[in-house]
């Protein structure tokens, strides 16, 4: 099997599994209990908090464990909205291609009376700090802009955006789910007030994430109950998951440069190879790009068919076609960068990690062109294009 869907999830690292097993065997107590077993769990949790904080330049008190990136995004945005509303600020700035965890939370806030401004992301899929500066108003409660896009891999200038927000006194949240463990994160120098990350995107366990909130930024609870997480999130802590997440993040951060070097070389090989397919196009920024992201549109084919045939050859990938999203529309990200519907249906995302090899790249570069040609050969849409009845889009 060739696993090329690391933006969806990653395989857990040996270090993460071992940390979790160790926790489940040795410190399985309730961290709130006062006897030794409970305190061991509390220490494990605290150690995880400290190590994760160190990886992103935060202090341990600024780390709240959550059930994952979505919860962290929800809590960050809700918290900023509530703070803003108290001061009469009900304007929130974001981008058109955020993850649904952000966009759907913003939609709910809009229904509750907030004004949501989604900045256009252009053809390459990015926003500039100037765009953000121009959009900030006196009643802006929050700017939330993702660090890197999950579908097309563009890396956004979060440091510059953070600086603009800091200067204008506006809270800045970044969804760093695709970035953490893969790109340098330093919340202090990058002027980030709140940041979300998710363990399973960097070889940690699923169902575990972190919301970093700068000291002085009060969080609103989404879950009521006990006083865990300093009152910011009720419920007995998932200690093993926190331990696994910390082990995974430490490991990926320690090898970040070498991983990025290796993975981006594979990425470039795939991009060069797939660009040879006629009427295809790379999605996203060719330069400011996640090391492992390869996103393409192929005219005249539909993404789900492509994925099923890749699966038959043992290649795991994903697509932004409507048929794979379970809705009628293709990916909002591809539409946001201006891909027409018919082309967005024919998208393919390969997301690599350091475990992928040159042999994987070779197999992908053999399979994709063959499958695209096969599907085009039975596609009336493609036939109409080559006969001149319809125009090519790409």
């Amino acid at each position: 099997m060739i696993y090329a869907d690391n933006a969806a999830t990653t395989k857990m690292s040996a270090a993460a599994i071992s940390a979790m097993l160790n926790c489940m065997e040795e410190s399985w107590g309730n961290p709130s209990s006062l006897y030794g077993l409970g305190q061991r769990a509390s220490e494990t949790l605290q150690s995880a908090r400290e190590r994760i904080a160190a990886c992103i330049g935060a202090s341990p008190k600024e780390i709240t464990f959550t059930s994952g990136g979505s919860e962290a995004d929800n809590q960050a945005i809700r918290s900023a909205a509530l703070l803003g509303a108290r001061k009469g600020k009900r304007h929130i700035i974001s981008t058109a291609f955020e993850h649904h965890a952000v966009l759907h939370t913003l939609k709910k806030l809009e229904d509750e009376g907030f004004e949501i401004e989604l900045l256009p992301v252009g053809k390459l899929g990015t926003v500039t700090a100037q765009q953000v500066a121009d959009a900030i108003r006196t009643d802006t409660a929050l700017v939330t802009v993702m660090y890197a896009n999950n579908e097309i891999g563009s890396i956004l200038p979060v440091s510059e955006i953070g600086a603009v927000c800091r200067e204008r006194g506006v809270l800045f949240h970044t969804d760093a789910v695709q970035a953490a463990g893969h790109l340098p994160v330093d919340v202090k120098t990058q002027n980030i007030d709140m940041l979300s990350l998710s363990a399973h995107k960097f070889h940690g366990p699923k169902g575990a994430g972190v919301l970093y909130a700068r000291q002085g930024v009060p969080l609103t609870r989404l879950i009521e109950g006990g006083a865990q997480e300093r009152g910011r999130r009720a419920g007995t802590e998932n200690v093993a998951a926190a331990a696994g997440m910390a082990a995974a993040l430490e490991e990926t951060c320690a090898h970040m440069e070498e991983n990025a070097f290796k993975v981006s070389a594979l990425r470039e090989r795939l991009i060069a190879g797939l660009s040879q397919i006629p009427h295809s196009a790379l999605n996203g920024d060719p330069v400011n790009r996640l090391p492992g992201n390869v996103s393409f549109c192929f005219e005249g084919v539909e993404g789900e068919s492509l994925l099923l045939l890749l699966d038959d050859r043992g290649i795991c990938a994903s697509s932004g076609s409507a048929c794979t999203s379970g809705s009628l529309d293709p990916s909002h990200v591809l539409l946001a960068i201006g891909r027409p519907h018919e082309v967005a249906h024919g998208s393919l995302r390969l997301s690599l990690c350091e475990e992928n090899s040159e042999a994987d790249a070779a197999a992908i570069l053999k399979a994709v062109p063959e499958i695209v040609a096969y599907l085009r050969n039975m596609s009336p849409l493609w036939k109409d294009k080559i006969s001149g009845k319809r125009e090519f889009v790409l």
Binding site: G300, V301, E302, G303, E304, S305, L308, L309, D312, S321, A322, C323, T324, G326, L328, P330, P340, H341, E342, H345, M378, S379, P380, L381, W382, K383, R390
Partner: protein, 143 residues
């Protein structure tokens, strides 16, 4: 559980009757590129019977499988029987489709119907409008 039945995967991996009939007696095309699926059916009619049928499809796995199954179901059948083909019959013959993929079987029924209609029109044969309702079942087109 797998996304699709074995039957769907079989017809997707080994689609029957793919291709073009250059001298077709009736051709039907339904769907659109915006929705992400287009089906085109070619019919060769001899003595009121479907002597040959081919299809081309742009679409997902179930769209390709539905087209393939629909061609199998109408091949060798008299036109009156072809017009009895329902999307339900296509889906059942495939051992079912996921709920959000049922429109693929609807598209297959409509593509067959559109090809028969084209045949009737080319031949100047009278036909009942109730056999050829407007293509209005795709939610995408109604938006």
């Amino acid at each position: 559980m797998a996304l699709y039945s074995e039957k769907v995967m079989d017809h997707f991996r080994n689609p029957r009757n793919v291709g073009v009939i250059e001298d077709a007696d009736g051709v039907g095309e339904v769907g659109n590129a915006v929705c992400g699926d287009i089906m085109k059916i070619y019919l060769k009619i001899e003595d009121g019977i479907v002597a040959d049928v081919k299809f081309e499809t742009f679409g997902c796995g179930s769209a390709i499988a539905s087209s393939s199954m629909a061609t199998e179901l109408v091949k060798g059948k008299p036109l009156e029987q072809v017009l009895q083909l329902t999307n339900k019959a296509v889906a059942e013959a495939l051992d079912g489709l996921p709920a959000h993929k049922l429109h693929c079987s609807v598209l297959a029924e409509e593509a067959i119907r559109a090809a028969v209609k084209d045949y009737y029109e080319r031949q100047g044969l009278p036909c009942s409008p109730k056999d050829f309702p407007d293509c209005g079942s795709c939610e995408g087109c109604r938006r």
